[in-house]
Symmetry: C2
Subunit: 227 residues, 2 copies
Amino acid sequence: MKLQNETKGHGKWYGDACGTAFAMELVGERWSLLIVRELMLGARRFSDIRASLPGLSAKVLTERLASLEEAGVLIRRQLPPPGKVQVYELTEWGSATEPLIQELGRWAAKSSAHDPTLPLSPVSLMLSLRTMADYVRTGTIVGKVGFVIGDESFLVEPGPGELPIRRGEVKEADAVFRAPDAVIIAGGIYAGMPWDELEQEAGLVIEGDRDLAMRFVALFSLPDKLA
Amino acid sequence: MKLQNETKGHGKWYGDACGTAFAMELVGERWSLLIVRELMLGARRFSDIRASLPGLSAKVLTERLASLEEAGVLIRRQLPPPGKVQVYELTEWGSATEPLIQELGRWAAKSSAHDPTLPLSPVSLMLSLRTMADYVRTGTIVGKVGFVIGDESFLVEPGPGELPIRRGEVKEADAVFRAPDAVIIAGGIYAGMPWDELEQEAGLVIEGDRDLAMRFVALFSLPDKLA
DNA sequence: CAGAATCCCATTCGATACTG
DNA sequence: CAGTATCGAATGGGATTCTG
């Protein structure tokens, strides 16, 4: 891919000092922000990203990774041997897009047209927890909650005013949600589907401290819709 | 313009429940969010918007206005006679993009590549004040500050933890900044250019309570850059 | 598997001209 | 002023193929 002329950015964008314009030049392209989102919880490989974003072609992913790298949002890195695979990782500035992604999510959730039952990626679900949590109550939960979604695992450790999430084994978790697909868990948390029904019919498994699990999911709710 | 098929939105977008994706479908198109930004401080006419966004053609503006209206972000309205002109105005949900626009701006400002000396529209400058204000000090300013930029006027009335801005005559202001272009004022506030130099060489005029004016501009600063 | 390279079609854009 | 109509050029994206 030919590098774009640096004075004009992606082509002929708006030469505007406003941050809105500048930011849209960098991450406003189709797929860009979704790719950034997938990297938000840690470095991933080309094929991981592709698998999480159905509809994104290899060509476009290659192009977006290149322009995001050029913009300084992410870097391409070789993992040390053994492994020695190539991964993409957000820079510090790239990670600083999280509030941005959260605002996008909050705004979308207020739309009456937003449909929370559409498919979503594991990372997308985990990040939505951070967006929609009631932070005045996160401190009341004691214990770690694990999620195993397909072949990805995450650990959530609620604390006062915070909700740290990291990838990792769920052995240390006190309660674990296990499901083949993120949309199942999203259905329980956001669409109010009964948990026992999801366990019987959708392949959800809740392990460990079930009471903890239920108090945990009660932390999350969608905002009221706006006209 | 043919309306898009409603099931696929703008064409073939990502069918993802994540708010990021949904929001990008609605306002992620080129120019869309800049148009929304121009409406943020009140309804405007077609040609007002066009004049504020150099590089935006009538064709594209027409298209964007149509899709933003269809998405429920803005509405098209006839002003009552006399006047009887057509204006575009944000819906309640459209106005709810302000935190989003602010996050975009905050993030952009942390980039080392961001150039605050580029041209910007009057609305863009006024909104940046709300984004960059030090809200622990806004309450210490007593008095109204007016801005006249080209032929647009705004009134800012700082209060504890808030910075309301509205269009309006600056007669009631205790201090007024007057400049032919927003970039001049931005240079003083964000780029640290000396105010007296701007007055002598760039056509800036500061009227009224000069001490108030200087304490007011000290409320604003750009964040530290990230790698 | 991780991408680069080609090919080709669909869409989009900008410029210009036109209209109520 | 507030758009609409048209046209040629540029861009974008999917499918496919190739390579280390």
